[in-house]
Structure formats: C-alpha cells, structure tokens
C-alpha cells in the first residue's frame, strides 16, 4: 500500500511537470508544522474497544506533519498523520492554475478482539484445519470435545485494516467547464468473526480470513453556467476477493458421514463489478424558477462459479447420486442487476412570499439474474433435501411524486407544507403493490433577534394492495406474520429545535417524537386455505409498533474574555413491540395459548461538560464526556402456556463510557508550543450475547465453539506530552 501511495505522489508531482511549468521551491513560501508526542498509557485489560478504530501508541510518536508551500500561482499542501501507527494517513494536494490534484492514503483499523482463541489453524488461504488426532479422538469417543479442545486453542488477532489509496484530479477546462478524474484502491485484510455450523446443534464460530480489494474509478465533466448547468459522470468499481470460500474442519469428525460432514464449506463475498453512468441538468428559467434533472444508471454483475452442493463426500441420499458431485443447473452465477434512478425537480418562487417545489423520483431495480432450479440442497453440509429449490430474482420499482409549498407569512415566520405520494411495485415479495402518502409540515420562526424555532411534523400512511400469504407459508412462516418493511404502517413523527444566540452564549434545545404503528392490512391472518393450521387465529405477528423520543440541550458560552464553558445532554429512547409464537415441534401453531410478546427498549444518554481558560500564557481545557446505553428485553407471555409463563425477561444490556480529560497548551516562543494532557477513560459493558464467552461450550446436546471475542470492561490512563513546532 505504501508503494501505491508513493506511486500516486510520484504521479502527481510528475504530472505537474508535464502539464505546467516545473515547480520551483525557491519561489515559494513554505510553512511547516510538526507535532510529536510522548505518551504513557496504563490500561488494565486488553480490551479492543479502547482502540477500536485507532491506535493509542506508547512512547514517542509522530502525531502529524504538515507542509504548505505557496507561490503566486501554486499551492501545495502535505498532511501526514499518526505516522507509523495503525491508523496513519497522508494527503498531498496540489493546486496550480486550472488544476487541482489530491493524492491520499488512509488506514483505518477495526479491532474486534485481542483475546480471540480458536482450535482451527489457518492452513492455507481460506482453509481452517483442526488437528486430525483431536477430530479422531472425538469422533471415536476416546475423548469429549470439551476435553480434547480446551487445551488446544491458539490466539488469533481478530481485527481488520482497510487501506485506501486514491488520487483525484480536477481540471478547469474553461471559465465554466471542469473535468474530474479519480481512481482509488481499497484493500481490506485481517480476520473477523464468522458463524459456521454443521448442524443446528453444532456451531463452530471461526476467525474468517479477509483479503479483498476494491478498485474504483470515476470520470466526469461539468458545466456551471449562470443559466444552465450540467454534469455527466461515469464510474467503474471492481471488487476482488482473494478468499472466496471458507473451508473448515469439523472439530468432532474426521470422516464424512451422511449425518455430518468432516468439513464444511461456505461461500464468501463473490467478485463483482459495477458500472454507473450519471447525468445531472440544472436550468434557471428565471431568477425565480429552476428545474433540475438527474439520471443514474448502474449495472452490477457477478459471474463467479457455483460451488458444488456440498463438500461432504458421503452425502448420498437413497436413489440419488452423491450430492458433492451432482450437476448444478449452471456453472456460474450469471447474476445481473440494473438500477435505473431518475429525479426531476422544479422549484419556483410562485409569488413573492410563496415558494413551491415539485419532485418526481423513479427507481427501478431490474434483476436479470436467471431463476435456477436446484435439485435440492445440502444445508450445513449434512441435511440433504431432495426438494427442488428455486431462486427468485427480486426486483422493484418505486415512484415518488412530491410537492412542497413554503409560505413566508412574516419576515420572521416561514411555514411549509408538503405531500409525497409513493408507489412501490415488487416482484417476488410478500407484498407486491403498495402506496404510501406522506404529509409534511414545517415551521421556521425567528420571533426575536437571536431566537430561532424550527419544527417539523410528518404523517405517513402506507397501504398494500394485497399480501401473498403463500410466500410466507412457502418458507415456513405463519400466515399471520407481517414483515415490517412492507406491511401497512401509520407513521407520525415530529421534531423541534430552539436555538437562542446572544453575543456570548448559544443555547440550543431539541426534542423529537416518533411512532410507527404496523397493521395487518389486507390478507388472511389465518389463511387456512394456504397451509395455515386450524389452531391459527386472527392475530398479527411480527413488529407491532415502534416509538422513539429524544430530547437534548446544548450550551456554548463565553463567560469572560478568558473563560468559555460548554456542555450538553442528550436523551434518546427507541422502543419496539413485537409478537411471536412459541413453537418447539416444527408445526405451524399460532394459537393464543403460546403467543408471546417482547418489548425491546434501547435508551441512550450522553452528557458532556467542559471549559477553556487562559491562565497567563497557558491555555487550559478540561472536561468530561459520558455516554450510557441500555437495552431492555421485557418478555410477556400472552397465553396460558405453562412453559411460557415460567420464562423470565432477558437481562438488561448496558454500555457506559466515561472520558475525563485535561489539557494544557503553552507557547514557548513564536514557533514552539508545548502541551501536557491527561485522559482517564472507563468502559463498562454487560451483554448477554457475548459476556464471558466460552471457547468450547456444551449446552444440552449441543457442541459449540466460540471465539471469546466479547467486549470487556477497561480503565485507561493516558498521559501525553506534546511538542508542536512551526517553521
């Protein structure tokens, strides 16, 4: 990646030599800034969250280097950050005459866990092997898998790093005409958690090796006239995955069997390409009327070879050929989707106090992927099914016609109303035809100088023409299920912001409320004629409603020439109520006795307080940031079923992060500034889905291998000495 960046920088510098006169540094004013830190940190656990997207280095580190060189005709900016750290980045920008070139390289780490352990060794790219002897011992019952594997775990760094190198060129071809060209390469490498299973009671979570690249390029031409503007663009993107399959050993079998395979194989992301073309037009009919048109066409293609049905060589159902070698309906995926998006907008100042806008949006997702009929499937590489399966090419079309009208009632009061009509048509979903009408109201009020009140309210009604219960029943769902993203819905949401600005203080208060009510709509909730069970009743299942509310206050004030104070508090809550049905036997049964509901509530509080002050020549900043989030999962048995009645709520999940900081900066001359900082960060987490993760686990008759990648509490102290030199 460094080579790529150097190539890019070299190209940029060479380009200036080719396109314009060679740069002469002697003619330029050069300003440079360098900042070094010496850091001591103490953290009481190897918790990944502490450095999730960054590196907090110990010892001496180069925080940044900046260089700005200017002449009468040329600007060069160089910025390099976090040098030799895991999150380093560099940017070089050249602005000369008609041309602007920007080359950049940026690393972003994503650290999931520093404590991951797995019994599977990465044998070759994408192949994860368990020790043969241990597989043998477990299969032939000379050892239990817990005993066999507990002592045979190896650590693996569960993290990825994304490197992006890019170069962008903007060139003014004329007073109003400009062209642009951009290329980039994104490389992502590392490991992340992947669920893999051999049977429903045998989970083997693995550290999936990640190694893929994305190449993007774009080309555009734009004209920005006073009356007429246009822009055309073309983009190409290619995704290349170096590891397209994950093959993993089954830790409890060394030989294939009908009941369970010795290996599993999963498809990972397939190589694909996308071409997109866009055109945008803007035209001012007059000073008061303007129209824009946007058209975008994207062609996405994926044609990777289809894997065999299974890697299990013993998968050989009675009367059938071995599924590991059975012919597939095609050798390659041949998958193609074409997205076609059109947007047209007309804005006009109809009369002096009135401004209207009309918008038409059309989105078409045309799926040209063939519909294959597969002889059956071998899910999880063991449970073959001879029932034909057919993929469906989901596609949709969405149209929006929207109108807004803004009325300047007073110079201080603006009112807006809007109405959107949405029409959606789908192929191969439970709901194919749907409409949604949305009414909007806006308020912008400035009653006195410095006071701003902004408010909005929206009411939306989404209705389907019909629900195809057979689509639900075919995949084993109850006919009463309503899928919240397509079901009937009434939505109400409002938001208000008050902002008071005086000469030295800014107060801001905001609040919001939202409610989505999902409804059964058309369609038979019991649907006996479509495979429903006689015990069904007319009850809707799935998400029933969501509510959200939020309130915040923010203050930023200058209390004196030497003292400024800032603080904020924000509270938000999201609540969802959903209904389901207890079932353990595999038959459709949505009878009243075994209905249950879950109320999920996420609550968030963030608060911060701090100040800046001058103490002589020292600038002192102190403050605190605290964020708390909680998840509650309240279970309610709706019926009389004794099993359900005995169940409890799930425990609350909670994350708290506290950050306290103090920083002093002191100039020691015109070019040098010294700084001293202290940060105390405390993180507390409880999550039942990952807390105290076992690596080899048994639960009832199941065997499970997890990665032990859960988040854990930590306390960190960081002391930083900083020197900044400008020259």
């Amino acid at each position: 990646m460094k080579k790529i960046f150097l190539r890019i920088v070299f190209s940029a510098v060479l380009g200036t030599g080719v396109i314009g006169p060679r740069l002469s540094l002697a003619e330029m004013t050069i300003r440079q800034e360098i900042e070094a830190i010496f850091q001591v940190k103490d953290i009481n656990s190897p918790e990944a969250k502490f450095e999730e997207y960054r590196e907090v280095p110990s010892g001496l580190a180069m925080e940044k280097y900046e260089m700005n060189a200017k002449s009468e005709t040329t600007d060069i900016e160089v910025e390099i950050k976090d040098i030799r750290q895991d999150d380093q980045s560099a940017t070089v920008e050249l602005d000369k005459g008609r041309m602007n070139i920007k080359a950049s390289w940026d690393q972003t780490p994503h650290l999931f866990s520093k404590e991951t352990k797995t019994p599977l060794q990465e044998d070759s790219s994408g192949v994860l092997r368990a020790p043969d002897q241990l597989q043998r011992d477990v299969q032939f019952a000379t050892a239990t898998y817990v005993a066999a594997y507990s002592g045979n775990l190896r650590p693996v760094d569960l993290k990825t790093r994304t490197d992006v190198g890019s170069i962008e060129l903007d060139y003014a071809l004329g007073e109003r005409l400009s062209g642009r060209l951009g290329v980039s390469e994104t490389i992502k490498k590392g490991h992340q958690a992947l669920g893999a299973a051999f049977t429903r009671s045998h989970i083997v979570q693995v550290a999936q090796p990640i190694d893929h690249k994305t190449y993007d390029s774009n080309l555009g031409l734009g004209y920005a006239g006073k009356t007429f503007q246009w822009d055309i663009g073309y983009g190409f993107s290619a995704f290349k995955n170096e590891i397209e399959t994950i093959t993993l050993d089954n830790p409890r079998r060394i030989t294939d069997a009908l009941s369970e395979s010795s290996q599993g194989r999963l498809n990972t992301a397939s190589d694909n390409v996308a071409h997109s073309g866009s055109m945008a037009l803007g035209y001012n009919f007059s000073r008061k009327t303007r129209a824009t048109a946007d058209v975008n066409l994207t062609y996405m293609r994926q044609n990777q070879p289809l894997l065999p049905y299974t890697i299990n060589t013993a998968s050989n159902p009675t009367g059938g050929s071995n599924w590991a070698y059975r012919n597939r309906p095609a050798d390659k995926a041949d998958a193609t989707v074409v997205n076609w998006v059109q947007d047209y907008r007309l804005v006009s100042q109809i009369l002096k106090p009135l401004k209207g806008a009309l918008r038409y949006h059309n989105f078409q997702q045309n799926n040209r992927t063939p519909e294959y009929t597969f002889d059956g499937s071998v899910g999880l590489d063991f449970n073959f099914s001879g029932t034909d399966t057919q993929n469906h090419a989901f596609e949709m079309k969405k149209e929006v016609i929207a109108a807004t009208l803004d009325y300047e009632m007073l110079s201080s009061l603006n009112l807006g109303v809007g109405f959107d009509m949405n029409t959606i048509q789908r192929q191969h979903r439970e709901v194919e035809d749907q409409e949604e009408n949305i009414a909007n109201f806006d308020l912008d009020y400035h009653p006195i100088k410095g006071l701003m009140v902004k408010g909005s309210f929206a009411n939306a009604r989404r209705r389907m023409d019909a629900l195809h219960e057979e689509e639900l029943v075919n995949v084993g769902e109850t006919p009463g299920m309503r899928l919240f993203d397509v079901s009937d819905r009434d939505r109400n949401e409002g938001k208000i912001i008050l902002q008071l600005t005086t000469a030295k203080n800014v107060w801001s208060v905001n609040g919001s409320l939202g409610h989505d009510k999902y409804k059964p709509g058309k369609g038979d909730l019991a649907a006996l004629s479509k495979g429903g069970n006689a015990a069904n009743r007319s009850t809707m299942y799935g998400l029933l409603e969501t509510r959200n509310a939020g309130a915040g206050i923010d203050y930023d004030g200058t209390l004196s020439d030497r003292f400024s104070l800032f603080g904020y508090f924000d509270y938000q809550t999201d609540k969802g109520l959903q209904r389901s049905n207890y079932n353990s036997g595999g038959t459709v049964s949505q009878d009243a006795a075994t209905d249950w509901e879950h109320e999920i509530q996420n609550r968030y509080q963030t608060a911060g307080l701090g100040f800046n002050t001058d103490v002589g020549t020292v600038i002192l900043t102190m403050g605190a940031d605290i964020s708390v989030s909680k998840g509650n999962y309240n279970f309610v048995a709706r019926g009389t079923d004794a099993t359900l009645q005995a169940l409890n709520n799930l425990p609350e999940t909670k994350t708290t992060k506290q950050n306290y900081y103090a920083q002093a900066k002191m100039p020691v001359g015109p070019k040098v500034e010294l700084g001293l900082g202290y940060v105390f960060e405390k993180y507390d987490v409880y999550d039942w889905a990952s807390e105290a993760a076992p690596t080899v686990n048994t639960y009832g008759t199941t065997s499970e291998f997890y990665l032990s990648d859960s988040s854990k509490d930590y306390k960190a102290h960081i002391i930083t000495a900083k020197a900044n030199l400008k020259f």
């Binding site: 998958a335 007309l346 294959y372 016609i401 109108a403």
Partner: protein, 309 residues
C-alpha cells in the same frame, strides 16, 4: 398512476408559468443602488480593520489566482460597490448605509452571491433542497471572514460540530457503542451526505441508500443467486447508520431483530429465558441467528437458500 402524472404535469406547467411571470414582476434588486461606485478595499479597511488579515484568506487568494481579481477589488466583488455605504460613515439611518449587500444567517439572498462562483455540480440541488427550504443559507455553516475550521471555511472547528448545530441528536448517536469511525476522524458527515443538496431526501451522495452503502461495502453488493429482499431494498431495514447499542449497528439485538419478520422457522421462534443466556445457548449467544445463517446479505452457494452456506 396516469391520473397522478397528469395532475403533476399540469401543476408543473402551471407553476412554471406562474414562476416566469412572477420573475418579470418581481425582478427588483433592493440592495443595488445605481449611483454607488466601486471604491476599493483600502477604503473598506479604513473602517473595517478587523478584516485586514483577509489578505491571506482563501477567498482573496482564490480571487487572485482563479479569477484574476486583485485584493483591492475583493470586498466589493461580493458586497457590491461601496461608495454610498462609505459616505454614510456608519450612520445606519442613512439610506446609503444599506446600499451594499450585507449578509447574515437570516438573509435569504446570500446563496445567489456565493453561487456567482460556487454553482458547480455539487451545489446544483441547493434550490429546493432540504436545507434551503428549511431557511438555511451559506452563512449558516460557512464564514467568509472568520472561519473556525482548517478546511471548508466552516463556522465551527469541524464538519461534525458544524452539522450538529442542528443535528445534535445525530452527534449523540455517534457516541453509541456501535458506530462508524466518524469521531475517530476517518469519516465525516459529508462522506455520505451532501449538505448543499442532492436529488435524494436525505441529501445522500449516491442516488439511493444501498448505492451509498456499497461504495465502502462492495462485498455486500452482489448481485447474489440467493437474495435477501429486505437487504436489497434498503440497508436501513436492519441497520442504524449513525450508531446503535447493538452489534453491527443493528436496529435491534439478534435474535429479536430477525424475529420481527421470522416468527416460525422451527428453532428461532422459541422465546429465550435466562437459562439459554446463562448457558450460552447457540440461538442467542455470539452471533445468534448468524451463527448458522452467516451469509444473510445473500449467497451464491447452491445450498445457500437459507444463507447458511
């Protein structure tokens, strides 16, 4: 649908005609006084000493390098000829005092001046865009003379601080345990949104939500043989892009998120009690549903109908 299109077309034509007519009636320029003449920056700075450093401002440099406008003419390039304003000598009651363009956050005509230079493709949708219709103008976010940011002439030190003047709730969401690396400086609001307007409702920098997400997550782009339609329709069906309490920025925790649509598939519909949680039952623990259904965005595997392979 045809009826809607006809109604809309009629409305479009009507508004266009009204708009053109209103233009002819309303084409006045209240801030331009014919008698005013250009007087040069030195005269301006005689009173406006605080702008002396504008010699080195990005606008002054831009004028000189790209427009060949010397500093002497830079003030009046935006504010208009200043002779009458100067003659008023600070007397606000003198009509000449208001003869120059005076910009403020409340002034709705700011954009027309800025767009003299800045009406490029990135700002093509300002008019009628969500920010313009909510009463914002260029100065709501940018400061020509006293910018606080290193880049972009913003009124606050960072893009996030600037946007959170109104979107404080979003800033708060970014502090949730699952978030994108915005606070770490690896992304910014404009990575996904164009504050100057776009053809989409939320000012997205792509024609629709999924097209935006796959710019970085190209591995989710597909197309796949086995598709998960909600994922093809909209990534936001399951994900909260600004931050969440739940892993992977999910709208709800698994398995409860999946159970919003999947009631009965033999195993997930079992309600989970504390026993499952404490003993790490595989339907709730670790990646929950994705322990077995990892390819939930789509699969290319012949046995991948249920996204298990």
């Amino acid at each position: 649908m045809l009826k809607k299109i006809l109604i809309t077309s009629a409305a479009v034509i009507g508004i266009s005609i009204l708009g053109v007519n209103s233009f002819t009636q309303a084409e006045d320029n209240p801030v331009s006084v014919p008698k005013a003449e250009y007087i040069g920056a030195d005269s301006c700075l005689a009173c406006h000493e605080e702008q002396k450093n504008d010699h080195a401002s990005p606008h002054t440099e831009f004028f000189l390098k790209k427009k060949n406008i010397p500093f002497e003419k830079s003030c009046e390039t935006c504010h208009g000829p200043g002779s009458l304003h100067a003659e008023a000598a600070g007397d606000k009651t003198n009509p000449g005092f208001k003869s120059i363009k005076q910009f403020s956050k409340d002034n709705k005509d700011v954009s027309s001046t800025c767009f003299e230079c800045h009406q490029d493709s990135g700002r093509m949708h300002w008019e009628g865009g969500v920010h313009e219709t909510k009463g914002l103008n260029c100065l709501s976010c940018h400061s020509v003379h006293s910018a606080a940011s290193k880049n972009g002439q913003l009124v606050k030190a960072t893009e996030l601080e600037t946007c959170s003047q109104c979107h404080g709730d979003i800033k708060s969401q970014l502090k949730r345990s699952a978030h994108m690396p915005i606070l770490e400086g690896k992304m910014s609001c404009s990575s996904c949104h164009n504050p100057h307007g776009s053809a989409t409702d939320k000012n997205l920098t792509a024609p629709h939500v999924n097209a935006l997400c796959v710019k970085c997550h190209a591995e989710k782009r597909g197309p796949f043989v086995w598709q998960h339609p909600p994922a093809m329709e909209n990534c936001l069906t399951c994900h909260a892009p600004h931050g969440s309490h739940n892993d992977k920025m999910l709208n709800a925790k698994q398995p409860l998120l999946c159970q919003r649509c999947h009631n009965f598939s033999r195993h997930p519909s079992t309600p989970y009690g504390n026993a499952d949680v404490i003993l790490k039952g595989n339907k709730v623990f670790a990646q929950s549903c994705m322990n077995c259904h990892p390819n939930i965005h789509g699969s290319n595997h012949p046995s991948g109908k249920m996204f298990t392979r």
